[in-house]
Subunit: 307 residues, 2 copies
């Protein structure tokens, strides 16, 4: 089978409208944190869409709301990393994620002319707000958005190439759920697909595996972590090992759809390390990402040590 | 061509997990507002998903974030309607929608032990909060969620059948963007589609048009408004008229994808009435739904008058 070509993909996809301003923002951010001798991680998060029409009414999406990425980004920030958060528009964001399931208006109270956060939520909001304000004033977090597969890949390539200058201090933590299949722009119908025909057949092509040029040429000295999400337990570790062999990066984090909140496996060339949260830990709100980021930052430290 | 059968759809789709509790909540809500001689509108909003796998990783979705539905629901509430808001989980909601593009943490300020809304946002939040609190304490708004096409259709049918008891006082305002095509449950692959095969072909079937049984049997005396969204201007009005002829309901609201924020057409058996916002109106934040709901509530009043 011929593998699809990465350059072909970029040549046949449109650059995001705000591409130049995103690139400038990433350059400034990376330069500043290199100057401050800080480690920098690119966290990707949320799912990419694949348009089925060129004036997009319909698209293929996946279930990711970005929990893994947004949660992990917070723990990287606590570990004093600068974080470029390349995320699906509308998906969870660090700090904000804690209020995703709350209607903001339900926790506010008019008090004379003022509007205040109500009693029972106050201390929680207070604590998250103070972490958020620290990250904001220290400029430790850069938010970059995508919606479509094309936007994601353009921004990923640009950010990775810019991170090259951070050498081994750069980590890539590729938690976004990227489409495997797409319809090339030239093959998209212009108008909304009409439904009078009784049935619809959609033909999609394989998306080129960008991990290959990412590791071999865009950012060759970085510490690269990719993810595998599967529903079939028998496929998980073999597919993780296959990915490491094919792309020659450092870590694959494997997880099963149904168990991903409390169980993950860290797979490297040499070892396969499972860990999970106990029931007590789950009930008391321990997040598995706190363990995961502890281990990864430790591995990244070893990776940066002179040989 | 054989039309797909509505009963077949329900027989082959699973009921939502919370179906019984939703039905009870809708029954209580409708009974209360009938007792109070209030008009009741069922607003549907946001897009339905179509799973491509039974343990759903991927699905087909559409771009709707529910702006039309959430905005319209607010104007129905201002017109003293009770509103059942059947919406896509995570899409815009009445009142909350005003803060969708704001990071809630950016407008809060720690002030001693308290957390308060900052100066420049205070009066806006104050005003929306007071409308929200009124609607909440008067129990004028019932929120019901869906994600998949199956959840939407089960809840739609139940709510419509319950609204039957409100007779002509019931309005249905079907603004949700419902999938035209789906894969029947029995034909879904169990595990995540594997990407090693180089290409992917997805075959979908037409979704039965539920407007037919809705008008003819679920809620035959209600005032029913459906929507047509098109990208091709030449198709819009002919398709709206065709829908009225086929389903025999009262109104189709037509809109074009690119112009929907400032231009809509109300199509009935007799007339076709375009209206749009001027540039000044658009700049000063006038919402086209305020006009639309004014006209529809007036039409609904005429509809309720004894012949």
């Amino acid at each position: 089978m011929d593998l699809p070509d990465c350059n072909d993909f970029f040549e046949n996809s449109q650059k995001p409208d705000n591409f130049d301003s995103v690139r400038c923002a990433v350059e400034d951010f990376v330069k500043k944190h290199i100057d401050q001798d800080r480690n920098i991680v690119l966290v990707t998060s949320g799912g990419t869409t694949v348009p089925l029409e060129s004036q997009t009414v319909r698209f293929i999406d996946n279930f990711s709301i970005g929990t893994r990425g947004a949660t992990s980004a917070e723990y990287f920030l606590s570990s004093n990393y600068a974080v470029i958060f390349l995320h699906r528009k509308g998906s969870l964001k660090p700090f904000q994620r804690h209020f995703q399931h709350i209607n903001f208006l339900d926790i506010l109270l008019a008090s004379g002319d003022d509007v205040i956060v109500q009693g029972d939520q106050k201390s929680r909001v207070h604590s998250i707000l103070s972490q958020y304000d620290h990250v904001k004033s220290s400029e430790l977090l850069l938010l970059v958005e995508f919606t479509t597969l094309g936007e994601y890949l353009y921004n990923l390539r640009a950010a990775a190439q810019i991170l090259r200058s951070a050498q081994k201090r750069a980590m890539l933590y590729l938690a976004a759920a990227v489409s495997d299949f797409y319809i090339p722009a030239g093959q998209l119908p212009k108008h909304k697909i009409q439904s009078s025909d009784g049935a619809l057949t959609i033909s999609l092509q394989l998306v080129p595996k960008m991990l290959r040029p990412l590791v071999s040429s865009w950012v060759p000295n970085a510490f690269v972590t990719s993810f595998k999400l599967e529903t079939d337990p028998l496929l998980l570790v073999p597919k993780a090992k296959q990915a490491l062999k094919t792309y020659k990066h450092q870590v694959v984090i494997g997880n099963l759809l149904e168990r991903r909140k409390f169980e993950v496996v860290i797979v490297t060339q040499d070892v396969e390390r499972w860990f999970h949260l106990t029931e007590v830990e789950q009930k008391t709100g321990v997040e598995i990402e706190s363990r995961l980021i502890d281990i990864l930052t430790e591995m990244h430290n070893q990776f940066m040590e002179p040989a």
